[in-house]
C-alpha cells in the first residue's frame, strides 16, 4: 500500500507546483497567445522575493504569508514592464515573442546570479509546515499539503475573477473576439496589460511555493519552464480544467516513474509521455471548438 500511496501523494504535490507554474502561462499563452519563456524567471523572482521578505519580516511563521502577495506584485510588475517595453509590439508575431523572451530570461538569470550568491539562498520554512499528516500509514509532509492548498486557492481565485468580475468578463471578451471587444468599448490594451500582470504575478506565487520545496537559485526558473509549457499544451489552450488535470497527471506520472527508476530518467519518460499524448490529441485534453483552420 505504501508503494502506491507515497508516490501518489508526492506526485499530487508535485503536480500542484506544476499547476501553479503553469497557471500564469495558461493565462498569457492560452488567452493572449504570448509565449513567455521568461515565465520561469518570474517564478525565480517570486522565490527571491520570499527570501528578501524573510530578511525584513524575521518571524518565519509570518514571513511566508506576507511573501505571497509581495511575490505576486513583484513578479507581476516585472511582467507588466516586459509587456510595455517589448511584448506589446509583437502581438502579431507570436513565435517571435518566444525568442525575445528567451533573451529576457537569459538577462534575468544572469542578473540573479550576480546579485545573489551563486549557490542560491536559503528560504526558511515556517514552523507550522514542519509536521506530517499520516495518510494510511504514510507520513505526508505538511508543506506538500500546503502546496496543494495554495494551488487550489489560486485556481479558485483565478476562475472566480475571470467569471464574476467585470475585468474577467473583459478578458474573456477580448480573447473570444478582439475586434468586437474593441468596438464595444473595451480597452484591449488595458486588458492585455492586466492579463499579463496577473499571469506573471501567479508565477511569483508559484516561486514562493517552489522555494519551500526545492532550492532558490538563478537556475530554478529554467527547470520549471518546459514542464509548465508541456502541461499547458497537454491541457489544451485557454482551458483551466485541462491545465489542472494535465498538471496533476504529469506530477503523479513523474513521481511514479521516479519511484520505479531514477529522478532524471523519470523526467525523460514524463516528457516522452506528454509528447506521445500530444501526438494523439494535438489540441490538448479539452479544446475550444472554433471554425478556424489552424
Amino acid at each position: 500500500m505504501d508503494a502506491l500511496i507515497a508516490p501518489l501523494l508526492n506526485g499530487s504535490a508535485q503536480g500542484a507546483l506544476l499547476l501553479l507554474a503553469a497557471l500564469g502561462l495558461s493565462l498569457t499563452f492560452g488567452q493572449m497567445g504570448v509565449i513567455n519563456m521568461a515565465h520561469g524567471e518570474f517564478l525565480m523572482l517570486g522565490a527571491f522575493a520570499a527570501y528578501l521578505v524573510q530578511q525584513v519580516v524575521t518571524a518565519t511563521d509570518l514571513s511566508i504569508p506576507v511573501a505571497l502577495p509581495v511575490a505576486f506584485v513583484v513578479a507581476g510588475l516585472f511582467g507588466l514592464l516586459l509587456e510595455i517595453t517589448v511584448i506589446q509590439w509583437m502581438y502579431r508575431r507570436p513565435l517571435d515573442t518566444l525568442l525575445v523572451t528567451v533573451g529576457v530570461s537569459l538577462v534575468l538569470q544572469q542578473a540573479a546570479l550576480q546579485i545573489f550568491p551563486s549557490q542560491g539562498v536559503p528560504v526558511e520554512k515556517p514552523g507550522w509546515l514542519d509536521g506530517q499528516l499520516t495518510v494510511l500509514g504514510y507520513g505526508w509532509p505538511l508543506r506538500q499539503l500546503f502546496t496543494i492548498l495554495l494551488a487550489t486557492v489560486c485556481v479558485a481565485a483565478l476562475s472566480a475573477w475571470l467569471r464574476y468580475t467585470s475585468f474577467g468578463r473583459r478578458i474573456r471578451a477580448t480573447v473570444h473576439n478582439r475586434d468586437l471587444a474593441e468596438t464595444s468599448g473595451i480597452s484591449t490594451r488595458t486588458v492585455d496589460r492586466l492579463t499579463f500582470f496577473t499571469g506573471s504575478g501567479l508565477a511569483g506565487v508559484a516561486g514562493v511555493a517552489a522555494s519551500l520545496i526545492g532550492g532558490t537559485n538563478s537556475q530554478m526558473g529554467a527547470q520549471y519552464i518546459i514542464p509548465a509549457f508541456l502541461v499547458v499544451a497537454a491541457g489544451g489552450i485557454g482551458q483551466l480544467k485541462g491545465t489542472i488535470i494535465a498538471a496533476w497527471a504529469v506530477g503523479v506520472a513523474l513521481s511514479f516513474f521516479a519511484y520505479w527508476t531514477t529522478g532524471s530518467l523519470a523526467q525523460v519518460l514524463a516528457f516522452i509521455l506528454v509528447i506521445v499524448f500530444l501526438q494523439l490529441r494535438p489540441q490538448g485534453l479539452f479544446t475550444v471548438r472554433t471554425r478556424s483552420l489552424a
Partner: protein, 364 residues
C-alpha cells in the same frame, strides 16, 4: 523586394569557400584555425536551422538532439578506436568488470559510424516530423516539443554515466579514422573537412532555395492553408526541410568532436540549442549566408567573450535576442536592404512595415 540573381549568391559561396579553405589555413595560427573549425561546425547546424526556421517557419529549438546524434556517434567510434581492444577507460572507472554496452559494439566499425551519423538523424527526424506535421502540430507547440526533447536527451546522457560518460562527456580521442589527432597536419585535414562540409551545405541549400521545393517551402511558411488548398501536402514539404536540417545538425556535431576533442551534455542541451538559434536569428534566418555567418559570430563570442567575460557575454546575448528580433526580424543581413529602402523612399515607405508583414503569422 527584388531577389538577387542566384548566380551572385553562387559567387558568394565561391568567395566564402576560398576564404575558408585557402586563405584561413595560410594566415591563421593553429589555435585560431581550430577555433574557426569549431565555428564551422556550429555554422553547419545553423545552415540547417535557416532552412527549417527561416524558410520553413518551423522554429526548431532542439537541434541539439541531432547535433548529439552525430557527435556521440563520432565520439563513440573515436573512443573505441583510441581504446583499441580494451574497454574505454571511463567505463572501467565505474565498473571494472562489466562488458561494453550493447549499443557501443557496432560503432567499432568506421563504416557503420559514418552511416549512423547520416541515418540516425534522418530516421529520428523522419519519424518525429511525420508524426508532428501530419497532426498539424506547429508554431509554439512544435518549438516547445523540440526543446523538451533536447532537455530530455541531455538529462538522459547526464544520468547514464557508465554508458555515455555522463556530465564529463567523452574526450581524450587519439585517432581519427587511423590518423593521429595530435599531428598538426591531420588537424589541418580535419579543419578542411569541416570547412568543406560547410561549403557543401551552403551549396545544398542554395540549390534547394532556387528549386520548386524552396518556393513551396516559403509558400508553406507564409500561407500553409493556401498551399493545402492548392493540392500540396504541407506536411511533406515541412518534413523534408526538417529532415535535411536534422542531417546538417548531425554532420556539424560529428565534426565538432574531432575538432574540439570533447562532447558533453552541456553542448547539446537546451542552452546550446538556443545558442544555435541565436546565431541564425542574428545573421538573418531567411538569407543564405546569414545563418552561417551569424553562427560563426556567436560562436566566436561564445568561445572568446564567453570564457573571459562570461557575465557580460550572457547580457550581450540576451539583449541581442531582444533587439534583433524586435527591430530586425530578418537579422543583420537585411540591414543593407533596409537602409537602401529607407534612403530611396524616406517619406512614403516606413522601413519596418514590409519586413514585419513578411514574417507575420496568422493568430489562431
Amino acid at each position: 523586394m527584388t531577389k538577387p540573381k542566384p548566380w551572385i549568391s553562387l559567387g558568394g559561396i565561391g568567395v566564402f569557400a576560398v576564404l575558408l579553405l585557402a586563405v584561413a589555413p595560410l594566415v591563421l595560427t593553429d589555435h585560431w584555425l581550430n577555433n574557426v573549425g569549431k565555428y564551422c561546425c556550429w555554422a553547419i547546424a545553423a545552415v540547417g536551422i535557416g532552412l527549417a526556421w527561416g524558410r520553413g517557419g518551423m522554429l526548431v529549438m532542439g537541434q541539439g538532439v541531432f547535433f548529439a546524434l552525430g557527435a556521440y556517434s563520432m565520439a563513440m567510434h573515436l573512443t573505441l578506436e583510441s581504446a583499441g581492444d580494451r574497454i574505454p577507460g571511463f567505463m572501467v572507472l565505474y565498473d571494472p568488470l562489466a562488458p561494453l554496452p550493447m549499443f557501443w559494439e557496432p560503432f567499432r566499425s568506421a563504416g557503420f559510424t559514418l552511416l549512423a551519423i547520416v541515418l540516425l538523424p534522418v530516421v529520428l527526424a523522419g519519424i518525429l516530423g511525420y508524426a508532428l506535421f501530419k497532426r498539424r502540430v506547429k508554431g509554439a507547440y512544435f518549438a516547445i516539443l523540440t526543446q523538451a526533447l533536447a532537455v530530455a536527451l541531455a538529462t538522459l546522457i547526464s544520468s547514464t554515466i557508465r554508458e555515455t560518460g555522463g556530465d564529463t562527456g567523452l574526450s581524450d580521442f587519439k585517432y581519427f579514422f587511423g590518423f593521429v589527432l595530435n599531428d598538426p597536419a591531420n588537424k589541418l585535414m580535419v579543419y578542411l573537412v569541416a570547412a568543406g562540409l560547410l561549403v557543401l551545405c551552403l551549396l545544398a541549400v542554395w540549390q534547394l532555395y532556387r528549386s520548386r521545393f524552396g518556393e513551396l517551402l516559403v509558400a508553406t511558411r507564409d500561407a500553409e492553408e493556401r498551399v493545402r488548398f492548392l493540392g500540396y501536402d504541407p506536411a511533406n514539404v515541412k518534413l523534408v526541410a526538417f529532415v535535411v536540417s536534422a542531417l546538417m545538425a548531425s554532420i556539424g556535431g560529428a565534426m565538432f568532436v574531432p575538432i574540439v576533442g570533447i562532447i558533453t551534455p552541456a553542448e547539446i542541451g537546451a542552452a546550446a540549442s538556443i545558442l544555435m538559434i541565436a546565431g541564425v536569428a542574428f545573421g538573418g534566418r531567411a538569407s543564405l549566408f546569414g545563418p552561417a555567418l551569424g553562427a560563426m559570430a556567436v560562436g566566436w563570442g561564445q568561445s572568446s567573450l564567453g570564457s573571459t567575460w562570461p557575465e557580460g557575454w550572457t547580457y550581450i546575448l540576451g539583449l541581442m535576442f531582444v533587439v534583433v528580433i524586435l527591430f530586425l526580424p530578418n537579422g543583420l543581413s537585411s540591414l543593407p536592404a533596409r537602409i537602401a529602402a529607407a534612403r530611396r523612399k524616406p517619406v512614403e515607405q516606413p522601413a519596418p512595415a514590409p519586413v514585419v508583414a513578411e514574417l507575420e503569422e496568422v493568430r489562431s
